[in-house]
Each structure stands twice: as structure tokens, then as C-alpha cells.
Symmetry: C3
Amino acid sequence: MSGTRSFLIASTAEQTDLQLDSQGNLRHLLTMHNLEQQHITMLLDKAETYLSDIGKKPVRSTTLQGRTVASLFFEPSTRTRTSFELAAHRLGADFLNLNVNTSSRRKGESLLDTVYTLQAMQVDVLIVRDAQTGVPAYIANHANEFISVLNAGESTIAHPTQALLDLLTIRQQKKDFEKLTVAIIGDIKHSRVARSTSEALVTMGAPDIRLICPESLTPEKGTLPSQAKILHNVRDGISNADVIMPLRIQRERIENLADIPTVDQYYANYGLKSSHMSLAAPDAIVMHPGPMNRGIEIESKLADSAASVIQEQVKNGVAVRMAVLAAVIKSLNYKDSK
Amino acid sequence: MSGTRSFLIASTAEQTDLQLDSQGNLRHLLTMHNLEQQHITMLLDKAETYLSDIGKKPVRSTTLQGRTVASLFFEPSTRTRTSFELAAHRLGADFLNLNVNTSSRRKGESLLDTVYTLQAMQVDVLIVRDAQTGVPAYIANHANEFISVLNAGESTIAHPTQALLDLLTIRQQKKDFEKLTVAIIGDIKHSRVARSTSEALVTMGAPDIRLICPESLTPEKGTLPSQAKILHNVRDGISNADVIMPLRIQRERIENLADIPTVDQYYANYGLKSSHMSLAAPDAIVMHPGPMNRGIEIESKLADSAASVIQEQVKNGVAVRMAVLAAVIKSLNYKDSK
Amino acid sequence: MSGTRSFLIASTAEQTDLQLDSQGNLRHLLTMHNLEQQHITMLLDKAETYLSDIGKKPVRSTTLQGRTVASLFFEPSTRTRTSFELAAHRLGADFLNLNVNTSSRRKGESLLDTVYTLQAMQVDVLIVRDAQTGVPAYIANHANEFISVLNAGESTIAHPTQALLDLLTIRQQKKDFEKLTVAIIGDIKHSRVARSTSEALVTMGAPDIRLICPESLTPEKGTLPSQAKILHNVRDGISNADVIMPLRIQRERIENLADIPTVDQYYANYGLKSSHMSLAAPDAIVMHPGPMNRGIEIESKLADSAASVIQEQVKNGVAVRMAVLAAVIKSLNYKDSK
């Protein structure tokens, strides 16, 4: 590995360039930043075709038959990896689980050599999760023309498939993004979900996005869309909100844990409770990207209430990942296919 | 997780209720306790149809095509997990291996939220192993109507698919349960195999079940079928026995290891040896649920002798698990299937 | 486990006997030692049929449909295990990943009991990697007639599928083995790749094989083919070489790390650099078995140069493993197949 800094060469602008091919089709999925409305709408529409009711057979297709999807996760994950694995299987792909972690990367082989190896094995799609900024774009920038990279979580800055499943869930419940008030509450500073989802909401025209956090978890300037308002008071933040999404505190990304409130303080001041819901819009929905800490960022009974669409999010997650896989595979035209 | 105690709400009676649907069909497989003869016989008969000779192709079917089976093992296991994985594949299902352990449960997400996530991903069958009593029933009690729970090992109290494979192996060798003398030797106190297999043997009418153990490993009253006799002397225990099954000492479940004999003492007093076999019935068979510690609970050459049916047990294990999967899947009627 | 020494009963001569069946067909793949030219050529020819260009669909077949391939790796590996997993999937097999490590073997169950378990589960092919000499042959010697063992890395002595992929890569580039000068540079003492690849090169008639290593990493007499020359100077070693393969230092197999040079010393004296290439034959190729440590055994830019065929090796690895799987499966005639 040529060192940490080399990852930083991919600016957000470069990421945007990387993720579309010369015909403007989705080539990699790296970021929600600058991904246009038409692409988001196309992916959400495609995802809808992969949904079936709970209790009905999941939709399957042969779109990825003969293809190989590999997960290259340098951070532990069960939920997202499983969602991608089911998505790949339900499209007919082979799925490889690579057991990698930072220590194995230190063992000597560079990140790019691992990628070159998978490329030589004719893997088609690489699902990448990493704690460091720039890794997915770095891989996309160096892989050959027959491999597609999907960002499954990148440091504090991007989690695009989470943003897509959030948007699909909101669209199912609220139809029109252009009148929406959305409140995201919690560790905004370290949340890649807050970033990707608010970027996508801005693109879809949501006029009122509120990011509510303790002072110590305020994001640095310029890291989130300028259209989003930073607030520190939950009651103000959820006033008339249509969509409310509490987040967990990302302890693993916080350098000085003394900066963050205790669990009890946090729940008292930032935990979303049923009693708050009268301040929100009458038909407000409650979302959570998971894993959820009941009794910390959300009152347990609220997570199970009629307002909660948390399980819909999970279900939509598989469909959205199927849609993304199906979209990028089209950009990888085999020489022998028509 | 609402806490440990909440798991205990599922009494054995409730488990029995949970495991059959309103038509009396197998809905979950949680315990052998009170599972009726007709269900056991049905499962053994079905398992027979999935057997082929070693060296012939394993039987395959499409019974679970389009279905997803997930293993949720909170205790390590290779043998049982692999057996379920092969069973699922040979029925055409997708199989998900979830890498969970107690520590990941402590990371914050509750057990039920993990289950709700899998449910939202349209997983059909959850294979659960846990060191704590009550977890499989707790999950079955809270999952929706489209998910089935199979107990793959629960604390010291239940291991129903092991009981079924033991019974299938005995039936193949001995035909008639109603004249059978069965001796189970070892750490009866901590053995879920002793419990489930003796419960199932009682149901099938086996008249003479002997549980032989050191004094310090005597099970508490009421935890095993009242029809089973507790003995402390191996020679008495295996006298005229038709089936003899030594067990390993479950060190991981023993709080005070000072209570248990040393390996040498144990082998001297409780190890099953070839020399014992003249005391047993002339055509007695030797079984072992595995993993086997040769030279501790069983003499190595006895494990490889003509009397040993240990490999038949393993082979029957896959067939029995196919039968259970095929049975519960019928109770999960998809809305779109006839 | 009857103990470490029992593995040693399989001498190289016995391995040779084990690996062919009575008709002279490949039954197991354990070693390159004494594997005849006709077998090697047959496997390389078969592997060629499984190759497609990068960017074309990988070749697939149904040769192993209904079969089960299991990996039993007692040493960590991502690269080799992944290559076998893709090979098995692309031939239509089910693939089982067994999470075993030395500690689990110490937990009590013997190696052979693990094998007997897999055999009873009707697994067809066992891919074995172990740090100890003799394990693959020991398993092959004790498994039944319906199971085939493939050695995926054995201590310092054998890695036959790596040898085959090296030979396929050389044959693609150089056509004629009989005029070839091959230089292998590095930790020859602990390298199973050096051993297997040089054995196979001797069999194919390569007249000039040079093994170049620091004094402290000189292999013991008799452990490598007598036709191979041991040298300690890189410049001499690569003079007019057609094929140059640097190896990594196998730190995990070195008892006294004080014996080996520092990284800087090593790179200065034994690292292969672009500047060396003018000493080699004009169209010399550079190979590496991976994982590669850039800046230690090889200059980074040389690994990416036109002379490098390192990615071809990886690609050929999948094809070679498909060829081996297809070959041994023919020796496992099911009773019910024609």
C-alpha cells in the first residue's frame, strides 16, 4: 500500500466522475454527493420491482447469473454484508465472503494487490467497507474496466446504499420529497448515514433537513450539505417533522470518549421518546439505520410503534442493493455478450 | 435485549404449544419434550427418503428452492452447522452463515432486533444455537408467522435434531423401540443430548433408559424424564444394554471444574471400553454424538469397531435435518403458493 | 489424534502411490514429486479449456453438480481458499468453508474424526492446508474410496496446485520447458512453492533451475530436486534467466528470526529490481506466488511492469484448480453413475 495519503487523491469531484461511465450510466456506487435525481429515481424505481410482501416469495432473477460478487469488508458488519449477500444470491450471482481485516492488510499485501487478485479471478463486483476515507474511490480508480465497486460504508463520509434505502422508505410513506421536513438526531459528526442520506434528500428536493446533535458531536463545516440546518435541541428539531431518524453514537469512531455524554444524559437530552411525537407532524414516521440501541437513542416502545418503519428499511435494503447490482452490471459489458 | 429473565417465560408447556400449528403440523422444532410419536415417526420416515449409500450421489430436491435458511449460532459449532448447511443446500435453499457471538450481542443490538432484521430480509428458517435456556422459544414466540425456528442446541436442555438422528440410527439397527435397553454414560447433568434423546426414547416407548454418571455430574431432579434411571456404575448400567452412548464432559458448561474427575480417573471409571461389551446385549451398538474424545469417554478401538454406528449417526444427521426443514417449510405457506 | 509422528508414515514414495488409482488416473493431488509429465500435461491442457479472457464470462460447467467440495484449512489463507471456492462454484459444486484452526483440533476431536464426519456427510473432495508435514497424505490414506484429497499447502514441502499454475503460466509465455532457465529467489528453505514448482519443472524437462537464497535460508540437503542449483548471489542467479520468481520470507515458519536479514538488508541484497532485468534473457518474465511484499522481495514498479505475469498466475490458478477438481472427480465413480 503506497500509504494512507494516497487514498485522499480522490476528491468528491473525482468520485462523481468515477461513478458514471461515458454514457452517463452508473459504473460504480461511491457517494450520494452529486448523484443526480434521475439516477436516484431510476434506482428506487428498479428497487420497487424487487419488492414482494413479507410472506410471499422474495423476487428472484437471473440478472447476475455467472457473475461473482465479493465482499471486501475491513470493518465488521453483519447487517449490511448479509443484505448484499441476499441481494446477490437473489439475482443468481456467486457470492464470496472475504475475511479481511486491518491486521491482514498489515501482513504485507497491499490493498491494490488484493484487488488485482480478485480482478484476475474474474470477480465482477466488489462490495467495500472501510474505516478510512477514500478507499472505495481508490479501488475504483485502479481496478480494470470489468470490475465495479460498491461503497458499503466509508469512514464518516459515505454510505450510499443506506441513503437509497432510506429514500425508498420515505418515498413509500410520503410520496413527495419536495414538501418534506426531515430530522436526523444524534452523532451527526461521525455518521456516514447522516451525510449520505441528507445529500440524497437535498438532491431529491427536500426543503427542510435538520441535523440535531449535542454540541460535542457537531460536524465540521463543509462536511454536510449547506442546505441542512444544524440544531442542538431535539424539541425544536422535530417540530412538525415528517420523518425522524435517531442515530446511534459511533463510539468506534470517536477519539476522545470524554467528549460524549453519558448514556443517561444522552437519553435524557437526545433520546427520541413517544412523548416527543406530539410535536412532530401528525403522520410522522420514525426510521433508524440500525443497529439500534433501545433506551439510548430511542425509547424501546417507540421503535415498535405504528410510526416506526424500521423493518421496512431493512426490507428495502435488500431490494435497493439488488437494484444497484443490476444497474452496475449493465455497465460491465462482457465482450461476448450482446 | 429486555434481559436474561425474559427468555424464561417460555415454559416447556409453552414450547410444546409453540412448536405445532393450529392443524397440528410442525411449525418450529424446539424440544423433544411432548413431541408426539406420530411427529417423530413422520420425521424419521421422511429422513429415510433422503438417505443414499455412501458412494452414491446424495439425495437432492427443490423443496426449499427460493427459500433462505440462516444459522444464528451464539456458541461455536462446526459439525451441527455444517450438517444444517448441507441439508439446506441439498434441498435447494440459500444458506446464510451469521457470524454472531455473545460479544456482538453486547455491542448493543438486542437479540430480537437481529431476528426482526432477518425476518425483514425474508429469511424463512432460523437455525439457533445458544448457551442460554429459552432463546429458541423466545425467538419463536416473537417472530412473525412466516419464519420457523429450529433449535440446534440450547444450554443443557435441548438438542432435538440430535435426538432425531439418534432415534433414526437406533431404528435402523434395532427396529423395535419397545423392547430396548439404552445406556447413556457421562456428563448427564450438562448434556442436552442426554435430555433430548431420552425424552424422545420415552415417547417412542423404550422401556429401559439408564443414565450413568459420576455423582458430581448427577442431573437435578425433574430435569430428565422420570422413566429414566440414574446409575453411577458403568458395569451395572450397560448390563444387557442394546444401545450404549458415551458422552463427552461439557467443560464449557461446568462452573466448578474441581468437581469433575481427572481425565485418568474418568477413563478408569466411566470410559467405555471393549472389555465392557461382553456385559451388554450380544448385538449391542455403540453411539456417540460427537465431538469424541478418544481415550477419555471411549476407548479408541471401540469407536472404530463393528459395534460402532457413530458415522451412521453423522450421515443420518444430514437426512434428519433435511426432513425437519422440509416439514416446517410446509407450515410456512406463502400467500402466493397453492 | 494418534499424535504428530503418525503423519510421518507417508513417505514421498507412498504419497506417489496414493495419488494415482489402479488405472493410473489422478485420485488425490498431494505432491509434484514423481507426478509424471503426462499427468502434468493433461492437467495443464484441461486447465486451458477453463480459461477465458478477462472481461469475458468465466467458463462454467456442470462437471461437479451435486458434488460437495470442502475446505479444511488449518492455516489462514484467503487467496488459495478463494481460488478453490471459485473453481468449485464454476464447476457447479456446493462448497463448504470449515472454520478450523489448530486450537479447535486441540479441543479434543482428532483430525481423522473430523475427516470421518465429512465423509459421512458425503463430501466428495477435501481441500487441505496444514502447517505440519504429512497431513494431506495421512488423510488420503485413511479416507474411504469416495473421497479425494487436494493438498492446498503443506508445511514447507508441497503446494502442488501452485506448481501447476506456475507451469501453466510459463508454458503460455515460453512454450518449451526444455530450453528454460528458471531462477527462484528468496526463502528457499521454508518455501513449499520453491519445492513443488522446481520438482514439476524438473519433470517437464527444464534444464537449468537456480534457487537463490541468503546463506541462512539455504534448504537442507535432499529436500529439493538434485537437478536444481543453490546459489547465493542474485546477479549470478538471474543471468540469462527466462523466468524469475522472487518469494516472500515465510516468517511464520522461521524459528529463530535473528537468522534472517533485516528488511533493508534483504531488499538491498535479494530484492529483485528493474535494474537487474538487463542481466536476464531479453524477454524474461517475472512471477510471484503472492502475497507479495513490494519493496522487500521485489521492487514495486517491476511487479507492475510488462515483464510481470503475476496476475496471469492468479487467473491460471482458478483454471488449474478447476482442472484438478474435474480430474479427481472422475476417479470417484459413483455407484449410480455410468
